[in-house]
Subunit: 193 residues, 2 copies
DNA sequence: AACAAAACTTGTCATAGGGCAAGAAAAGCT
DNA sequence: AGCTTTTCTTGCCCTATGACAAGTTTTGTT
Protein backbone atom coordinates (compact mmCIF):
# COMPACT_ATOMS: atom_id res chain seq x y z
CA UNK A 1 0.00 0.00 0.00
CA UNK A 2 1.67 3.26 -1.09
CA UNK A 3 0.98 6.74 0.26
CA UNK A 4 -0.97 7.54 -2.88
CA UNK A 5 -3.47 4.96 -1.81
CA UNK A 6 -4.16 6.88 1.34
CA UNK A 7 -5.12 10.09 -0.46
CA UNK A 8 -7.49 8.24 -2.75
CA UNK A 9 -9.66 7.93 0.35
CA UNK A 10 -9.80 11.69 0.49
CA UNK A 11 -10.23 12.49 -3.21
CA UNK A 12 -12.75 9.81 -3.94
CA UNK A 13 -14.02 8.53 -7.24
CA UNK A 14 -17.47 9.60 -6.14
CA UNK A 15 -16.52 13.27 -6.50
CA UNK A 16 -13.42 13.28 -8.69
CA UNK A 17 -12.70 11.84 -12.12
CA UNK A 18 -9.69 9.54 -12.26
CA UNK A 19 -7.63 12.24 -13.97
CA UNK A 20 -8.61 14.92 -11.47
CA UNK A 21 -7.91 12.67 -8.54
CA UNK A 22 -4.50 11.71 -9.88
CA UNK A 23 -3.61 15.29 -10.66
CA UNK A 24 -4.61 16.48 -7.21
CA UNK A 25 -2.85 13.66 -5.42
CA UNK A 26 0.36 14.16 -7.42
CA UNK A 27 0.66 17.62 -5.90
CA UNK A 28 0.91 16.36 -2.33
CA UNK A 29 4.20 15.66 -0.64
CA UNK A 30 4.64 13.24 2.22
CA UNK A 31 5.97 14.77 5.43
CA UNK A 32 6.62 12.96 8.69
CA UNK A 33 6.55 14.55 12.09
CA UNK A 34 8.01 13.17 15.28
CA UNK A 35 6.25 13.37 18.61
CA UNK A 36 6.25 16.95 19.89
CA UNK A 37 7.26 18.47 16.53
CA UNK A 38 5.39 21.61 15.63
CA UNK A 39 3.52 21.77 12.36
CA UNK A 40 2.79 25.42 13.05
CA UNK A 41 3.87 27.89 15.71
CA UNK A 42 2.28 31.09 16.95
CA UNK A 43 3.46 33.99 14.82
CA UNK A 44 4.06 31.91 11.70
CA UNK A 45 2.01 32.43 8.59
CA UNK A 46 0.65 29.12 7.46
CA UNK A 47 1.77 28.13 3.98
CA UNK A 48 0.54 24.55 3.96
CA UNK A 49 -2.01 22.16 5.18
CA UNK A 50 -1.90 18.43 5.74
CA UNK A 51 -3.96 15.29 5.77
CA UNK A 52 -3.15 12.86 8.54
CA UNK A 53 -2.38 9.33 7.38
CA UNK A 54 -1.25 8.16 10.80
CA UNK A 55 -0.65 9.68 14.21
CA UNK A 56 -2.39 12.25 16.32
CA UNK A 57 -2.15 16.02 16.53
CA UNK A 58 -3.28 18.75 18.91
CA UNK A 59 -3.67 22.49 18.39
CA UNK A 60 -3.70 25.08 21.14
CA UNK A 61 -3.51 28.79 21.84
CA UNK A 62 -1.87 30.61 24.71
CA UNK A 63 -4.38 32.87 26.41
CA UNK A 64 -3.77 36.31 27.94
CA UNK A 65 -2.71 34.74 31.24
CA UNK A 66 -0.27 32.40 29.56
CA UNK A 67 -2.43 29.28 29.83
CA UNK A 68 -2.31 26.62 27.16
CA UNK A 69 -5.82 26.06 25.82
CA UNK A 70 -6.48 23.15 23.50
CA UNK A 71 -8.50 24.20 20.47
CA UNK A 72 -8.65 20.98 18.51
CA UNK A 73 -7.53 17.43 17.91
CA UNK A 74 -6.68 15.83 14.57
CA UNK A 75 -6.73 12.12 13.84
CA UNK A 76 -6.30 9.81 10.85
CA UNK A 77 -8.10 11.15 7.80
CA UNK A 78 -8.49 14.65 9.21
CA UNK A 79 -7.29 17.81 7.55
CA UNK A 80 -4.89 19.81 9.68
CA UNK A 81 -5.14 23.47 8.81
CA UNK A 82 -5.32 26.89 10.34
CA UNK A 83 -8.02 28.20 8.04
CA UNK A 84 -7.52 31.80 8.93
CA UNK A 85 -3.78 31.93 8.60
CA UNK A 86 -3.79 29.85 5.44
CA UNK A 87 -6.37 31.86 3.54
CA UNK A 88 -5.91 35.32 4.92
CA UNK A 89 -2.11 35.06 4.91
CA UNK A 90 -2.00 36.21 8.55
CA UNK A 91 0.38 35.24 11.31
CA UNK A 92 -1.39 32.66 13.39
CA UNK A 93 -2.25 32.55 17.08
CA UNK A 94 -2.38 28.76 17.03
CA UNK A 95 0.23 26.18 17.80
CA UNK A 96 -0.19 22.83 16.11
CA UNK A 97 1.85 20.02 17.55
CA UNK A 98 2.23 16.30 16.92
CA UNK A 99 1.10 14.33 19.98
CA UNK A 100 2.85 11.28 18.57
CA UNK A 101 4.80 10.38 15.46
CA UNK A 102 2.74 11.27 12.40
CA UNK A 103 2.71 10.61 8.70
CA UNK A 104 1.09 13.47 6.79
CA UNK A 105 0.47 14.65 3.24
CA UNK A 106 1.20 18.30 2.61
CA UNK A 107 -0.09 20.81 0.07
CA UNK A 108 1.18 24.38 -0.21
CA UNK A 109 -0.88 27.51 -0.72
CA UNK A 110 0.02 28.30 -4.33
CA UNK A 111 -0.69 24.80 -5.48
CA UNK A 112 -3.91 24.85 -3.52
CA UNK A 113 -4.95 28.03 -5.32
CA UNK A 114 -4.28 26.50 -8.73
CA UNK A 115 -6.33 23.45 -7.93
CA UNK A 116 -9.05 25.50 -6.28
CA UNK A 117 -9.55 27.73 -9.28
CA UNK A 118 -8.93 25.01 -11.85
CA UNK A 119 -10.97 22.08 -10.60
CA UNK A 120 -14.59 22.48 -9.64
CA UNK A 121 -14.83 19.31 -7.59
CA UNK A 122 -11.72 20.29 -5.67
CA UNK A 123 -13.19 23.63 -4.69
CA UNK A 124 -16.54 22.09 -3.81
CA UNK A 125 -14.77 19.69 -1.52
CA UNK A 126 -12.59 22.43 -0.05
CA UNK A 127 -15.64 24.51 0.73
CA UNK A 128 -17.44 21.56 2.27
CA UNK A 129 -14.47 20.76 4.45
CA UNK A 130 -14.26 24.32 5.68
CA UNK A 131 -17.98 24.39 6.40
CA UNK A 132 -17.66 21.15 8.33
CA UNK A 133 -14.92 22.67 10.46
CA UNK A 134 -17.15 25.65 11.06
CA UNK A 135 -19.95 23.35 12.12
CA UNK A 136 -17.79 21.44 14.61
CA UNK A 137 -16.52 24.63 16.09
CA UNK A 138 -20.03 25.96 16.48
CA UNK A 139 -21.22 22.79 18.14
CA UNK A 140 -18.32 22.94 20.55
CA UNK A 141 -18.96 26.59 21.22
CA UNK A 142 -22.66 26.14 21.96
CA UNK A 143 -21.93 23.11 24.09
CA UNK A 144 -19.60 25.26 26.15
CA UNK A 145 -22.54 27.46 27.07
CA UNK A 146 -25.35 24.97 27.20
CA UNK A 147 -23.85 21.88 28.77
CA UNK A 148 -22.24 20.99 32.08
CA UNK A 149 -18.57 20.00 32.01
CA UNK A 150 -19.50 16.44 32.88
CA UNK A 151 -21.83 16.13 29.90
CA UNK A 152 -19.20 17.61 27.62
CA UNK A 153 -16.69 15.05 28.81
CA UNK A 154 -19.07 12.14 28.43
CA UNK A 155 -19.90 13.22 24.92
CA UNK A 156 -16.24 13.59 24.02
CA UNK A 157 -15.49 10.12 25.27
CA UNK A 158 -18.35 8.76 23.23
CA UNK A 159 -17.67 10.69 20.04
CA UNK A 160 -13.88 10.71 20.03
CA UNK A 161 -12.65 7.91 22.25
CA UNK A 162 -9.21 7.90 20.60
CA UNK A 163 -8.56 11.29 22.18
CA UNK A 164 -8.71 9.85 25.64
CA UNK A 165 -6.04 7.35 24.65
CA UNK A 166 -3.68 9.84 23.08
CA UNK A 167 -3.91 13.07 25.00
CA UNK A 168 -3.06 14.00 28.58
CA UNK A 169 -5.84 14.82 30.98
CA UNK A 170 -4.64 18.40 31.26
CA UNK A 171 -4.98 19.02 27.54
CA UNK A 172 -8.36 17.36 27.34
CA UNK A 173 -9.48 19.51 30.26
CA UNK A 174 -8.63 22.80 28.56
CA UNK A 175 -10.44 21.64 25.46
CA UNK A 176 -13.51 21.13 27.64
CA UNK A 177 -12.99 24.53 29.24
CA UNK A 178 -12.14 23.26 32.72
CA UNK A 179 -9.02 22.57 34.79
CA UNK A 180 -7.24 19.25 35.04
CA UNK A 181 -8.31 19.07 38.68
CA UNK A 182 -11.97 19.32 37.78
CA UNK A 183 -11.68 16.80 35.01
CA UNK A 184 -10.01 14.37 37.38
CA UNK A 185 -12.97 14.75 39.75
CA UNK A 186 -15.45 14.32 36.96
CA UNK A 187 -13.74 11.09 35.96
CA UNK A 188 -13.94 9.86 39.52
CA UNK A 189 -17.62 10.71 39.75
CA UNK A 190 -18.28 8.77 36.58
CA UNK A 191 -16.31 5.73 37.69
CA UNK A 192 -18.08 5.81 41.08
CA UNK A 193 -21.48 5.62 39.43
CA UNK B 1 -29.15 56.59 -3.47
CA UNK B 2 -30.54 53.33 -4.83
CA UNK B 3 -30.17 49.86 -3.33
CA UNK B 4 -27.61 48.98 -5.97
CA UNK B 5 -25.39 51.60 -4.46
CA UNK B 6 -25.38 49.71 -1.21
CA UNK B 7 -24.06 46.48 -2.72
CA UNK B 8 -21.26 48.31 -4.51
CA UNK B 9 -19.80 48.67 -1.01
CA UNK B 10 -19.69 44.91 -0.79
CA UNK B 11 -18.49 44.07 -4.30
CA UNK B 12 -15.88 46.75 -4.53
CA UNK B 13 -13.93 47.99 -7.52
CA UNK B 14 -10.81 46.92 -5.67
CA UNK B 15 -11.65 43.25 -6.19
CA UNK B 16 -14.22 43.21 -8.98
CA UNK B 17 -14.20 44.59 -12.50
CA UNK B 18 -17.11 46.88 -13.31
CA UNK B 19 -18.77 44.14 -15.37
CA UNK B 20 -18.33 41.52 -12.70
CA UNK B 21 -19.63 43.80 -10.03
CA UNK B 22 -22.69 44.73 -12.06
CA UNK B 23 -23.39 41.14 -12.94
CA UNK B 24 -23.14 40.01 -9.35
CA UNK B 25 -25.23 42.85 -8.00
CA UNK B 26 -27.93 42.32 -10.63
CA UNK B 27 -28.56 38.86 -9.16
CA UNK B 28 -29.57 40.18 -5.75
CA UNK B 29 -33.14 40.87 -4.80
CA UNK B 30 -34.18 43.33 -2.14
CA UNK B 31 -36.16 41.86 0.73
CA UNK B 32 -37.47 43.70 3.76
CA UNK B 33 -38.14 42.15 7.13
CA UNK B 34 -40.25 43.56 9.92
CA UNK B 35 -39.23 43.39 13.52
CA UNK B 36 -39.48 39.80 14.84
CA UNK B 37 -39.75 38.28 11.36
CA UNK B 38 -37.74 35.12 10.91
CA UNK B 39 -35.21 34.93 8.12
CA UNK B 40 -34.66 31.29 9.00
CA UNK B 41 -36.26 28.85 11.41
CA UNK B 42 -34.96 25.68 13.00
CA UNK B 43 -35.65 22.75 10.71
CA UNK B 44 -35.60 24.80 7.51
CA UNK B 45 -32.94 24.25 4.90
CA UNK B 46 -31.37 27.55 4.04
CA UNK B 47 -31.75 28.49 0.40
CA UNK B 48 -30.53 32.09 0.60
CA UNK B 49 -28.28 34.48 2.29
CA UNK B 50 -28.52 38.21 2.78
CA UNK B 51 -26.53 41.36 3.18
CA UNK B 52 -27.90 43.83 5.68
CA UNK B 53 -28.41 47.33 4.34
CA UNK B 54 -30.22 48.54 7.43
CA UNK B 55 -31.54 47.06 10.65
CA UNK B 56 -30.30 44.53 13.13
CA UNK B 57 -30.57 40.75 13.32
CA UNK B 58 -29.95 38.04 15.91
CA UNK B 59 -29.45 34.31 15.54
CA UNK B 60 -30.00 31.75 18.26
CA UNK B 61 -30.32 28.05 18.95
CA UNK B 62 -32.52 26.25 21.45
CA UNK B 63 -30.43 24.00 23.66
CA UNK B 64 -31.37 20.60 25.06
CA UNK B 65 -33.09 22.20 28.05
CA UNK B 66 -35.11 24.53 25.87
CA UNK B 67 -33.05 27.64 26.56
CA UNK B 68 -32.62 30.26 23.88
CA UNK B 69 -28.90 30.82 23.31
CA UNK B 70 -27.78 33.70 21.13
CA UNK B 71 -25.17 32.63 18.61
CA UNK B 72 -24.61 35.84 16.68
CA UNK B 73 -25.59 39.38 15.81
CA UNK B 74 -25.73 40.93 12.36
CA UNK B 75 -25.50 44.64 11.60
CA UNK B 76 -25.31 46.92 8.58
CA UNK B 77 -22.89 45.55 5.99
CA UNK B 78 -22.81 42.05 7.48
CA UNK B 79 -23.63 38.89 5.65
CA UNK B 80 -26.44 36.89 7.25
CA UNK B 81 -26.00 33.24 6.50
CA UNK B 82 -26.16 29.84 8.08
CA UNK B 83 -23.02 28.49 6.41
CA UNK B 84 -23.69 24.91 7.25
CA UNK B 85 -27.28 24.77 6.14
CA UNK B 86 -26.62 26.81 3.02
CA UNK B 87 -23.68 24.78 1.72
CA UNK B 88 -24.43 21.33 3.03
CA UNK B 89 -28.14 21.59 2.22
CA UNK B 90 -29.01 20.48 5.74
CA UNK B 91 -31.91 21.47 7.93
CA UNK B 92 -30.62 24.08 10.32
CA UNK B 93 -30.57 24.21 14.11
CA UNK B 94 -30.42 28.02 14.03
CA UNK B 95 -33.13 30.60 14.20
CA UNK B 96 -32.38 33.93 12.57
CA UNK B 97 -34.70 36.74 13.52
CA UNK B 98 -34.92 40.45 12.78
CA UNK B 99 -34.48 42.47 15.98
CA UNK B 100 -35.89 45.51 14.21
CA UNK B 101 -37.14 46.36 10.73
CA UNK B 102 -34.47 45.45 8.19
CA UNK B 103 -33.66 46.07 4.57
CA UNK B 104 -31.66 43.18 3.10
CA UNK B 105 -30.32 41.96 -0.24
CA UNK B 106 -30.88 38.32 -0.97
CA UNK B 107 -29.09 35.76 -3.13
CA UNK B 108 -30.27 32.20 -3.63
CA UNK B 109 -28.15 29.06 -3.63
CA UNK B 110 -28.27 28.23 -7.34
CA UNK B 111 -27.34 31.72 -8.37
CA UNK B 112 -24.61 31.70 -5.79
CA UNK B 113 -23.22 28.49 -7.27
CA UNK B 114 -23.14 29.98 -10.78
CA UNK B 115 -21.31 33.05 -9.60
CA UNK B 116 -19.00 31.03 -7.39
CA UNK B 117 -17.88 28.75 -10.18
CA UNK B 118 -17.92 31.44 -12.84
CA UNK B 119 -16.21 34.38 -11.23
CA UNK B 120 -12.86 34.00 -9.54
CA UNK B 121 -13.06 37.21 -7.52
CA UNK B 122 -16.51 36.23 -6.28
CA UNK B 123 -15.28 32.91 -4.97
CA UNK B 124 -12.18 34.46 -3.42
CA UNK B 125 -14.40 36.90 -1.59
CA UNK B 126 -16.82 34.16 -0.58
CA UNK B 127 -14.03 32.11 0.86
CA UNK B 128 -12.59 35.08 2.69
CA UNK B 129 -15.96 35.91 4.18
CA UNK B 130 -16.43 32.36 5.40
CA UNK B 131 -12.94 32.30 6.88
CA UNK B 132 -13.64 35.56 8.66
CA UNK B 133 -16.77 34.07 10.18
CA UNK B 134 -14.74 31.09 11.28
CA UNK B 135 -12.21 33.40 12.88
CA UNK B 136 -14.84 35.35 14.82
CA UNK B 137 -16.40 32.16 16.06
CA UNK B 138 -13.04 30.84 17.19
CA UNK B 139 -12.23 34.04 19.02
CA UNK B 140 -15.58 33.91 20.75
CA UNK B 141 -15.10 30.28 21.63
CA UNK B 142 -11.64 30.73 23.12
CA UNK B 143 -12.81 33.81 24.99
CA UNK B 144 -15.52 31.68 26.55
CA UNK B 145 -12.84 29.51 28.11
CA UNK B 146 -10.10 32.00 28.78
CA UNK B 147 -11.91 35.12 29.95
CA UNK B 148 -14.19 36.03 32.81
CA UNK B 149 -17.75 37.01 31.96
CA UNK B 150 -17.04 40.60 32.95
CA UNK B 151 -14.14 40.89 30.54
CA UNK B 152 -16.21 39.36 27.76
CA UNK B 153 -18.94 41.92 28.36
CA UNK B 154 -16.55 44.84 28.45
CA UNK B 155 -14.98 43.73 25.20
CA UNK B 156 -18.38 43.31 23.57
CA UNK B 157 -19.38 46.81 24.58
CA UNK B 158 -16.15 48.17 23.16
CA UNK B 159 -16.14 46.19 19.93
CA UNK B 160 -19.84 46.13 19.12
CA UNK B 161 -21.52 48.96 21.01
CA UNK B 162 -24.53 48.95 18.68
CA UNK B 163 -25.51 45.56 20.11
CA UNK B 164 -26.11 47.05 23.52
CA UNK B 165 -28.53 49.52 21.97
CA UNK B 166 -30.48 46.98 19.96
CA UNK B 167 -30.65 43.79 21.93
CA UNK B 168 -32.22 42.89 25.25
CA UNK B 169 -30.00 42.10 28.20
CA UNK B 170 -31.22 38.53 28.26
CA UNK B 171 -30.12 37.88 24.70
CA UNK B 172 -26.76 39.54 25.22
CA UNK B 173 -26.28 37.44 28.34
CA UNK B 174 -26.75 34.13 26.54
CA UNK B 175 -24.32 35.26 23.87
CA UNK B 176 -21.79 35.79 26.64
CA UNK B 177 -22.64 32.43 28.15
CA UNK B 178 -24.22 33.74 31.35
CA UNK B 179 -27.71 34.44 32.71
CA UNK B 180 -29.49 37.75 32.52
CA UNK B 181 -29.23 37.98 36.31
CA UNK B 182 -25.46 37.73 36.20
CA UNK B 183 -25.15 40.23 33.40
CA UNK B 184 -27.28 42.67 35.31
CA UNK B 185 -24.89 42.35 38.26
CA UNK B 186 -21.87 42.77 36.06
CA UNK B 187 -23.36 45.95 34.67
CA UNK B 188 -23.91 47.23 38.16
CA UNK B 189 -20.34 46.43 39.19
CA UNK B 190 -19.05 48.32 36.19
CA UNK B 191 -21.24 51.36 36.82
CA UNK B 192 -20.21 51.34 40.50
CA UNK B 193 -16.55 51.55 39.59
C1' DA C 1 16.83 -1.02 39.02
C1' DA C 2 16.93 3.68 40.48
C1' DC C 3 16.01 8.11 39.92
C1' DA C 4 13.70 12.10 37.93
C1' DA C 5 10.03 14.13 35.72
C1' DA C 6 5.52 14.28 34.34
C1' DA C 7 0.76 13.03 34.92
C1' DC C 8 -2.91 12.30 37.82
C1' DT C 9 -5.60 12.37 42.25
C1' DT C 10 -7.29 14.28 46.34
C1' DG C 11 -8.10 17.64 50.16
C1' DT C 12 -9.28 22.26 51.75
C1' DC C 13 -11.07 26.43 50.91
C1' DA C 14 -12.58 30.27 47.82
C1' DT C 15 -15.48 32.33 44.19
C1' DA C 16 -18.01 33.08 39.86
C1' DG C 17 -22.10 32.47 38.41
C1' DG C 18 -26.82 29.99 38.71
C1' DG C 19 -31.83 29.30 40.49
C1' DC C 20 -35.57 31.29 42.17
C1' DA C 21 -38.54 34.89 43.50
C1' DA C 22 -39.93 39.66 44.46
C1' DG C 23 -39.83 44.23 43.07
C1' DA C 24 -38.91 48.23 40.06
C1' DA C 25 -38.65 50.20 35.68
C1' DA C 26 -39.59 50.47 30.94
C1' DA C 27 -42.11 49.47 26.82
C1' DG C 28 -46.20 48.32 24.41
C1' DC C 29 -51.22 48.53 23.88
C1' DT C 30 -56.09 50.21 24.00
C1' DA D 1 -53.68 58.20 30.62
C1' DG D 2 -54.08 53.67 32.46
C1' DC D 3 -53.25 48.93 32.18
C1' DT D 4 -50.48 44.90 30.85
C1' DT D 5 -46.47 42.76 29.57
C1' DT D 6 -41.79 42.58 29.21
C1' DT D 7 -37.36 43.80 30.79
C1' DC D 8 -34.22 44.66 34.26
C1' DT D 9 -32.53 44.71 39.12
C1' DT D 10 -31.78 42.87 43.57
C1' DG D 11 -31.67 39.58 47.54
C1' DC D 12 -30.84 35.02 49.33
C1' DC D 13 -28.79 30.84 49.07
C1' DC D 14 -26.61 27.11 46.35
C1' DT D 15 -23.48 24.57 43.18
C1' DA D 16 -19.94 23.88 39.82
C1' DT D 17 -15.58 24.81 39.22
C1' DG D 18 -11.12 27.14 40.39
C1' DA D 19 -6.67 27.85 43.17
C1' DC D 20 -3.30 25.91 45.59
C1' DA D 21 -0.78 22.34 47.66
C1' DA D 22 0.36 17.63 49.01
C1' DG D 23 0.43 13.15 47.69
C1' DT D 24 0.46 9.20 44.44
C1' DT D 25 1.03 6.92 40.24
C1' DT D 26 2.94 6.53 35.76
C1' DT D 27 6.37 7.28 32.41
C1' DG D 28 10.81 8.12 30.75
C1' DT D 29 15.88 7.98 31.25
C1' DT D 30 20.37 6.46 32.48
Amino acid sequence: MTGQHFLTNIFKAKDFSKEESELVISKFRQVNFSKNDYLLKEGDTEGHYWFVESGFIRSYVIDTLGNDITTNFYAVGDIVIDWTSFFLRNPTRENIQASMDCKCWQLDFDTFQQLFHGIQSFREQGRTTLVNSYFSLKKHSVSMIADQAKERYIRLVKEKPHIIQNISLKHIATYLGITDTSLSRIRKEISDE
